[in-house]
């Protein structure tokens, strides 16, 4: 299982690197699709099935199809390869540092307390009776993954429509605003007789 996670994880990273290094915009977009697909498989391995389906339907199936559609429609020329300069070095160091910090956090474990707001959610897959439960991200066992109900449709739906109802509704309002804005921006401007 760990081997599978490592292989899929490496493929996801390869896809992500491809996004940055491809000179053709379409190849960048397709690398992103590949990376998204690999992430979806990782979710599936971690038993987060709903997340797997959402990742594929929303990101690979809808958002990225639109990206690819627009790229083909505009048919942009191939870009130059990014040049290695000071900015690139700074960005590289920053990325390495953040990644190392994330790995260190994951390895040392994060402590959830029973009354912790996030703990109530994340704890759905762990032992949330334990007041101070330390979870090591790297040492999960199959039993751990199997017993987890955190990723299934019922749990996510229940949380979404009870605990997170307000943020959920506000987000939907945000999307509505964005949709109205998009329609307004792309409307046909009626011809005026002023600019002759």
């Amino acid at each position: 299982m760990t081997a599978l996670i490592i292989v899929v994880g490496i493929l996801a990273v390869v896809g992500a690197v491809g996004v940055v290094l491809s000179t053709q915009p379409l190849y960048s977009a397709l690398s992103l699709v590949f990376s998204i697909g690999m992430l979806a498989i990782l979710y599936l391995i971690l038993n987060a099935q709903l997340l797997f389906a959402v990742q594929l339907i929303v990101y690979a199936g809808a958002v990225m199809v639109l990206f690819v559609f627009i790229i083909a429609l505009l048919n942009p020329k191939a870009e130059d390869r990014p040049i290695l300069d000071v900015r690139a070095v700074v960005a590289f160091v920053a990325v390495i540092t953040i990644t190392a910090a994330l790995f260190a956090t994951a390895h040392n474990g994060i402590t959830y307390s029973g009354s912790n707001f996030r703990g109530a959610v994340v704890g759905a897959s762990h032992n949330d009776q334990d007041p101070a439960y330390t979870k090591h991200a790297f040492d999960f066992k199959p039993a751990d993954v199997n017993s987890g109900q955190a990723g299934n449709v019922q749990t996510v739906g229940g949380q979404l429509f009870t605990v997170f109802l307000l943020p959920f509704e506000i987000t939907s309002l945000l999307l509505l605003v964005a949709a109205i804005g998009a329609v307004y921006l792309t409307r046909r401007v009626p011809k005026t007789e002023v600019d002759t």
């Binding site: 599978l4 379409l26 199809v65 083909a72 199959p142």
Partner: protein, 353 residues
């Protein structure tokens, strides 16, 4: 624990206590489905030409074998031995990826469709599921995989570096995105009624009445939308002969063209199988006393009838104009789908109260 075993045990399998398929059973099931679908698709080309012939008052293929039954074999041989022409300016990698994806996504969607009821306790407490992989979120899996099908047509159209192909690819992408919404919405009514995304549970809950009775609107919406997703007439704008030569597969020849062809027919089978599973009671018999006929035969029979309807529609209806296609998807199917969700939800809520 081996990686493949793990995937079978927990990743793909849910539902506590469900015994996992041994890898061998899994492989055999997969092989049967893949071979069966390929063969069925080949003979559907024969069926389609026969149906077309009858509708146009002619015989259709009748030279190779009895009733022209061996025509598909002759066709496949012809495709195999044809020269594989490809434009010099093509994108070499994507030109190959396109047709492979077309078949891959079409077959993958079939992996979660149950062909018959579970056989409990074969061998040591082992349940035989009549699908390749028994997923808790089968319905979502199908939606996810079919949404990836858009890439195959688009990549084929784009990589050929030809204007007709590109136009076909762009049209199909726009069409698939527009109709995917309507199709997904039409399925939600069934999900509300069953409270499950598990296709086996959805079928067993149709014991008393098929969902086509309770959800007639959803069935019509799904069938229309799914027809558009398979890119067949009257929604075959991506390959409209009169306008785009052959649309996205203009530059394809030989087996690569054959793969697109195969993908289209497997898609038709998959779409009809989903409609059967969700609305026509899957493997359940029409009336209880006919239940001595095995479930698989019921399933195949229902799918066959639906496929016949799909062919019938193709040869009797003219192609839609592009703007009409878009307004049908966004202004008719989508609002009706929403209406169906609201009505179903209200009825279920009132019954529960």
């Amino acid at each position: 624990m081996k990686a493949s075993q793990y995937l079978l045990d927990s990743g793909l399998r849910v539902g506590n206590g469900v015994a996992a398929d041994p890898v061998l059973v899994f492989a055999v099931k997969a092989a049967i489905v893949v071979l069966g679908l390929t063969l069925a698709a080949a003979f559907l080309t024969w069926a389609e030409r026969k149906v077309a012939g009858r509708i146009q008052l002619r015989y259709g293929p009748n030279r190779v074998g009895p009733y022209g039954l061996f025509q598909p074999i002759a066709d496949v041989l012809k495709l195999l031995f044809k020269e594989n022409l490809a434009p010099a300016t093509r994108d070499k990698l994507l030109f190959l990826v396109g047709p492979s994806l077309a078949v891959g996504t079409a077959i993958l969607a079939f992996a979660v469709i149950p062909l018959s009821a579970v056989n409990h306790g074969i061998g040591a407490g082992y349940d035989l599921h009549w699908d390749i992989s028994h997923l808790n979120i089968g319905l979502l899996f199908i939606l996810a995989v079919t949404s990836l099908g858009a890439y195959s047509i688009f990549l084929g159209g784009w990589s050929a570096n030809s204007k007709y192909s590109l136009l076909g690819g762009l049209r199909s992408t726009a069409q698939l995105i527009s109709y995917e919404m309507a199709v997904s919405f039409s399925l939600i009514g069934v999900v509300i009624l069953t409270g499950s995304l598990d296709l086996e549970k959805i079928v067993t809950q149709q014991n008393h009445a098929w969902f086509v009775v309770m959800q007639p609107l959803a069935f019509l919406l799904y069938f229309t939308g799914a027809l558009a997703e398979t890119n067949r007439a009257p929604f075959d704008l991506p390959e409209a002969e009169q306008e785009l030569v052959a649309g996205y597969h203009t530059e394809y020849s030989s087996l690569r063209f054959g793969l697109y062809f195969l993908g289209e027919y497997v898609n038709v089978i998959t779409v009809c199988a989903i409609a059967t599973t969700l609305f026509l009671g899957g493997w359940l018999p029409i009336v209880p006393f006919l239940s001595f006929i095995p479930g698989v035969l019921w399933f195949i029979g229902k799918v066959a009838v639906l496929i016949l309807v799909v062919m019938w529609i193709r040869w009797t209806l003219p192609r839609l104009r592009y703007d009409r296609l878009m307004s049908l998807g966004w202004k008719v199917l989508l609002p009706l789908g929403l209406l169906n969700i609201v009505i179903t939800g209200a009825v279920v809520a009132f019954q529960a109260a």
